[in-house]
């Protein structure tokens, strides 16, 4: 191999670039996969569907720029996702506020208020989904509101830190004013920036894929996990989910592959005589950022500690007072977002097809196993390693054996290093 590399360094560099580009997607997949796996200890194949959904979400929202896209927008699809989002919001509101407000208001008024809020969010989502051409306008209030809340909270925090003697009213008014100003600015900026639709569609499809993940977990997996005796039950059940979603995607969008609209950075750059797209570099960056973010979350935050605790023993976690349902829902959300991000990035890079879910998931699965199940470092290493091996592996072999190579590597690997490159603690 070394000899081959010295013999034709150009090709080697090109292979390396290719490997990095695919590896980044695999790494993203593996990260989410590992996170979910090491929390709930089963292979959630919905993960594959989430990847496909992320990609198709962008397709759905950007149809005006793809061939004949106006036809894709389907009221039923929008309605279904609106419902899912409404359901998830309703549940989130319930978990977040119901117990706390129980004592102050009647159950009925709480249910009504929550239901209305959830319904409104659902309708809003449906509305956004049916009018993807004005994504930036439609979403600007939402983004503005979120920005306002975040800014208000930050200001509140900062003031409290710096001037601990500030009065409650001044504190509140300042943070509300600053927050709403900031939010309004953000909203306005967004409304005036139609080119932001690309990123908004990314965010939107990631969120929707995440919401579906949460909905699945809450409405199915929770009950199943209560009875399940082995991870295989969950595996088979989520296989059912994957089959159904893949087929449904094929019904709605037809099974032919589709292109995603061009994002950016599609011009190749030449480095050391080899070409790599700017977009691929962006993908690599996203993978690394995702890794760092996840690492921070797990190792530095109390939520992360809770997640790790649930991974160790869920029942005991419940016993010590962790609302495991909520925390696992968050994990599923994060996992699905990672999958969706990987799906849409690879979709922009190559193309999308309903079956892509299964294929990407297998790759993510392999990468995380090779890297070492349950270890974030392992996931990243495994992802990039798999990408590289796939490229360099066919140097002497015909390219049609690519899939065989990755599985043979996997099997060899598991035979000799059953716990992966970087096993979990």
């Amino acid at each position: 191999m070394v000899w081959k590399i010295t013999e034709s360094p150009d090709q080697a560099v090109q292979f390396a670039f290719n490997g990095l580009s695919v590896g980044a997607v695999y790494a993203l997949l593996a990260l989410g996969f590992t996170l979910v796996y090491s929390t709930v200890w089963f292979f959630d194949l919905y993960y594959g569907a989430a990847a496909a959904m992320g990609a198709y979400g962008v397709f759905y929202l950007r149809t005006s720029e793809t061939v004949g896209g106006s036809h894709v927008n389907n009221p039923y699809v929008s309605a279904i996702f609106a419902l899912v989002v409404a359901g998830v919001i309703a549940w989130v509101l319930y978990e977040a506020f119901f117990i706390r407000l129980q004592s102050r208001f009647t159950h009925k008024s709480l249910y009504i208020a929550g239901g209305m809020l959830a319904g409104a969010t659902g309708i809003y989502t449906g509305f956004v989904l049916t009018n993807p051409d004005h994504l930036h306008l439609l979403l600007s209030p939402a983004v503005g509101a979120v920005a306002a809340v975040v800014a208000g909270w930050v200001v509140n925090r900062v003031i409290r830190r710096l001037f601990s003697n500030t009065g409650r009213t001044t504190l509140l008014t300042t943070s509300v004013i600053v927050g709403s100003l900031f939010g309004a600015c953000c909203g306005l900026l967004l409304a005036g920036a139609p080119e932001s639709r690309l990123y908004l569609s990314w965010a939107m499809s990631c969120l929707v894929a995440g919401a579906v993940g949460v909905a699945l977990y809450r409405s199915l997996y929770v009950y199943m996990r209560k009875r399940a005796r082995s991870p295989l039950i969950m595996l088979v059940a989520s296989l059912g989910v994957l089959l159904a979603i893949t087929a449904a995607t094929a019904i709605v969008f037809e099974s032919a592959p589709r292109p995603l609209p061009r994002a950016f950075g599609s011009e190749p750059w030449t480095i050391w005589g080899s070409n790599i797209k700017g977009f691929n570099i962006f993908t690599i960056g996203v993978a690394i950022a995702g890794f760092l973010g996840l690492l921070f979350l797990l190792k530095r935050t109390s939520l992360g500690r809770t997640i790790r605790a649930i991974g160790d023993d869920e029942e005991v976690a419940k016993v010590v007072g962790i609302n495991t349902t909520v925390v696992i829902a968050i994990v599923f959300f994060i996992g699905a977002v990672f999958a969706a991000a990987a799906g849409l990035l690879s979709g922009h890079d190559t193309a999308i097809q309903p079956r892509m879910g299964l294929l990407l998931m297998l790759k993510g699965w392999i990468a995380s196993v090779v890297g070492g199940m349950g270890n974030l470092y392992g996931a990243v290493v495994g992802g990039f390693a798999l990408g590289m091996v796939e490229q360099f592996g066919i140097w002497d072999l015909a390219g049609e054996w690519k899939d065989v190579i990755s599985f043979v590597i996997l099997i060899l690997f598991l035979s000799f290093w059953p716990r992966g490159l970087l096993p979990r603690g």
Binding site: S302, R305, G311, D312, V319, V320, G321
Partner: protein
Amino acid sequence: MSDVEEQDGQPAITREDNGSAGAEGNVLEDSFILEMVNVSVRYGAVSALEDACLGVRRGEVVAVMGPNGAGKSTVLKGLMGLAPVVAGQVYWRGERLTSATHEIVKHGIAFVPQGRRLFTHLTIEENLEMGCPYLRDRPEVRRRMDSVMELFPVLHQKRRDLASQMSGGQQQMLALGRGLMANPELLLLDEPTLGLAPNIVKEVFQTVALISERLGTTIMVVEHNIKGVLDIVDRAYILDTGRVVFEGTPASVRETNILAEVFLGKVQRADPDEP
């Protein structure tokens, strides 16, 4: 390893917030703070608990004993909402307890399950912190952790190690300590001495007694080590095949030799004359 003994003087562990609880406690002095009324638990076709009535008074240490498969663990799991209760109610301070498991903890009930189940990939410190995962007040968390570590100095020595790297006894201490971190009013212990070396068993019993004495924590403990446990409890329940067959003081347990009876009854049923 006998750290508690080595300490001279009293452990500096005290209960801070017993002001309000104390006032209330007087009212409820004689009634149960936790009560199970006619609770039945069924696993599929297996009836693990039938019409069980048990209760604990404030500050009491109560033992639950009985043969294997009598349903002792099921009692605790039923209280914590971890077992399928098909009939009956659980009352906490006179109010029905219907919350989900993680909410029950916030009422001040902590449960240390059978078999030293820890978060093996977390360090000891993190494990302890998990005892009160939703407590935002960092100084308070530190304070409680300090007091637990004072109770079990070995935890302090190893506080950065992973929980999986400790011996069984140390793990049991950690599990106990984690239960204490919730600063519970009621502590439910399921066979805390299972598989522990004699010196540690002693230590665990002493600790249980100590917790009850110093903190006024109410404790319900499931035990097979009858000799050990009868020394520290105020009252005992005896279960057999899912029913409460006896309730009384340790003395009466010893006197009536009830345990032997319970057991012999079971032996007869287990003999050849079966359907």
